[in-house]
């Protein structure tokens, strides 16, 4: 019979972030703070990114993770926090949008 425990990347985003910190990595945290329409992940969903670009968790169905990771890496280098907004209606402002037609606001911050 297959054995497993609740996988690291499922509801263990913060614990994984701490593990990465323990390995001496800088880590940033992205959190969905509000959604409109049919956004794939609800407010409160989180994604952690380490300084090498490795990430765990999700803030969408895979549509904006790449862009959020890029922003997180910038923040890990330059400090500060950022409130990002993604959606189909403003794809001129951002290179990525949500295929579902929803909109999300994502807060990105360094941990520590």
């Amino acid at each position: 019979m297959m054995t497993y425990s609740v996988s690291e990347n499922h509801d263990q985003v913060l614990e994984t972030a701490m593990q990465w910190q323990g390995e001496g990595k800088k880590v940033a945290l992205a959190t969905v703070v509000s959604t409109w329409g049919s956004a794939p992940r609800p407010a409160g969903s989180q994604l952690a990114v380490d300084e090498t670009g490795k990430f765990v968790g999700s803030v969408s169905g895979g549509c904006i993770e790449g862009a959020v990771v890029t922003e997180a890496l910038t923040i890990l280098q330059n400090g500060g926090t950022k409130l990002l907004e993604y959606g189909v209606s403003n794809d001129e402002a951002w290179e990525v949008g949500l295929a579902c037609g929803g909109k999300v606001k994502v807060f990105v911050e360094p941990i520590g």
Partner: protein, 227 residues
Amino acid sequence: MKQATFKQLIEDRNAKRPVVVATNLATGDDRLIYPDADQDPMITEALTALRDDKPQNVETDEGPYFLNPFNPPLRMIIVGAVHIAQPLSQMASLSGYAVTVVDPRTAFATTERFPNVEIITEWPDDALTALAPDHRTAVVTLTHDPKLDDPALEVALKSPCFYVGSLGSKKTHAGRLNRLSKAGFSDEDCARIHGPVGLAINAKSPSEIAVAVMGQITAKLRQAEPR
């Protein structure tokens, strides 16, 4: 997130303490709000976030705040270490539940059959009383043996657990309701039991029945009307 906030949050999660992370989205400043912090200006919104398990956005003089609730994990107590309990315990783990399997029959309740699951071999009433089901707990009985299921149901129905389900045919369930009613449980109490257990999806195999049960528990948790 400040390192101190982060460390304390991880500690609270390990200790299964409910807590809210309040983050100022303009400044990045954050703090933790606990349910007993009645002096905190955002305690009302924090308590709402914990109760609904849903974040709140609050406008304050200091800027916009995001309140993210961290509730202790959902729990599932499965009575009966039977075949269906094997896929159900795995599905529940994947869905974020801490799973406990209760069965005094030690031939059933083995770690080989239930790896990575807490197993209790006490009698179900003792086990459930000790586990103290709360509003984040689902209780499922699968033995369809009154000697094992009924004592568990009696504890579950006196608790605030959000879901009670009982395996068994319509006839078995009718007999069960009859016994519980004689034991003093009201119609309202008995109506809390989902029986025959699971969504009506013509599930046949143990895994399919587990899907039906997991679906019904999810619907109850998220207050959805299955269609």
